[in-house]
Symmetry: C2
Subunit: 252 residues, 2 copies
């Protein structure tokens, strides 16, 4: 449906100083609507989901024209990718840089588990404090659950991060084989994704207490939780032998 190979460029020469239609301030206006589209789409995608958010709603809320999306980004998908990259690239760059700093600081030993996890989760959770970031983190939380149609390109960015973190974590977790480590990292990523996805429910529609929690506090808790979980010894005996071995009736 879409190949993501060549990024969209508005006109033939938008990077030059020539104003495209000889109107003064046209280029500033263009940059303004472009940013308004990114911000508004980010909010609406987070609130209603990608499929349920039409370009009409986005452009209306951003006080822009329907055609502006296609001019600036090329398509709905490219708009999504653009707003996603805008936030996630600085985060992933921070993660990798800080990880390398950790490795250098503790060489030749591997860095402590808690520190590695901290570097993995804190930059993402910190997004919640940036303007508009509270919407974006919900999108990230959905990224891992959504089926693989329109965001495979984005998942690859996370794959790069994971490939750098996995060996460092493995060095501190020698009691886990490859499969166990991968599984427990799925748990850890799921914990992060879920807390990101629920971040907006600050006053809890469910039985959760009202969250006055700061991102820093959440990061502290998540690091403690994940480190303990990763270190947990491999389980031997399934403790609750099911009294009734299979008490599910056939589907109606």
């Amino acid at each position: 449906m879409h190949d993501f190979s060549e990024p969209h460029t508005p006109t033939e020469a938008p990077a030059t100083g020539l104003d495209p239609s000889a109107q003064p301030g046209a280029v500033e206006r263009g940059a303004a609507t472009r940013q308004a589209l990114l911000d508004t789409a980010e909010r609406l995608f987070a609130e209603h989901g990608y499929g349920a958010t039409s370009l009409r709603r986005i452009t209306a809320a951003a006080d822009a024209n329907l055609a502006a999306v296609h001019y600036h980004f090329g398509s709905k998908q490219d708009l999504f990718v653009a707003l996603f990259r805008r936030r996630v690239e600085p985060v992933n760059r921070q993660r990798v840089e800080r990880l390398e700093r950790l490795i250098a600081a503790s060489a030749p030993q591997a860095p402590p588990l808690e520190d590695v996890l901290d570097v993995l989760v804190r930059p993402m959770l910190a997004l919640r404090d940036e303007p508009g970031g509270e919407h974006f983190v919900r999108l990230v939380g959905r990224l891992f659950a959504e089926p693989g149609d329109h965001l495979t390109a984005l998942r690859e960015e996370f794959d790069e991060v994971r490939s750098k973190f996995l060996p460092v974590l493995a060095a501190q977790l020698p009691h886990l084989d490859r499969e166990q480590l991968a599984l427990r990292m799925q748990f850890t990523i799921g914990s992060l994704a879920n807390v990101l996805a629920q971040a907006h429910r600050s006053n809890g529609p469910t039985c959760f207490p009202p969250f006055t929690t700061t991102p820093e506090r959440v990061a502290d808790e998540l690091v403690a939780y994940a480190a303990a979980g990763l270190r947990a010894p491999v389980r031997r005996t399934p403790p609750d032998a099911p009294a009734a071995p299979n008490d599910t009736e056939p589907l109606q």
Copy 2:
């Protein structure tokens, strides 16, 4: 948009023995297409998402007529709710029943943490072994990340489960206050949801090793991981004092 209040009923008297149009075997045919619709929709919703799956694709794949969905279920949303309830109600019933058995067995003490977690996660993971269940678990994984439009009614079913499990877990975790416990339970639910959502990628498109893991094995690992995470002492000092306090540049 939709109120979920009164469920759909195909005709005035479909529960009676009267065949609706005097055709022999009509009622059996009706039940067959109804089931085919449920199974097919479950698979397609899991593979492409709710919004991206049209009724036309469902009915075509199920060898049924487009109007059959509206006859049997009333609407697309009601079809979704029906296929969801079909699977999740037995699971949640099992969870609550087994929990009560645990409580009775260990009274007056609270049951062991690992046993409670086992009862919470294993019935859901076991769905993967039922025919068609491998599609359904992906839907569950998405339920927690998806925004709150068309599945609030379903989330309430999980709220009931959580309200029964929370106090039992709290009894074994006296070092956590309400907020910490709620947060760590979000981590735990996220771990479960993520592993459910990724359950179909058995041979891993990413750097994960090929999973030959059975649901029982996953449940063992998850219980060990979550129990250790929940028991982890509250963290005191953020260990990695960020060298550069905030090295994020403003958004482009």
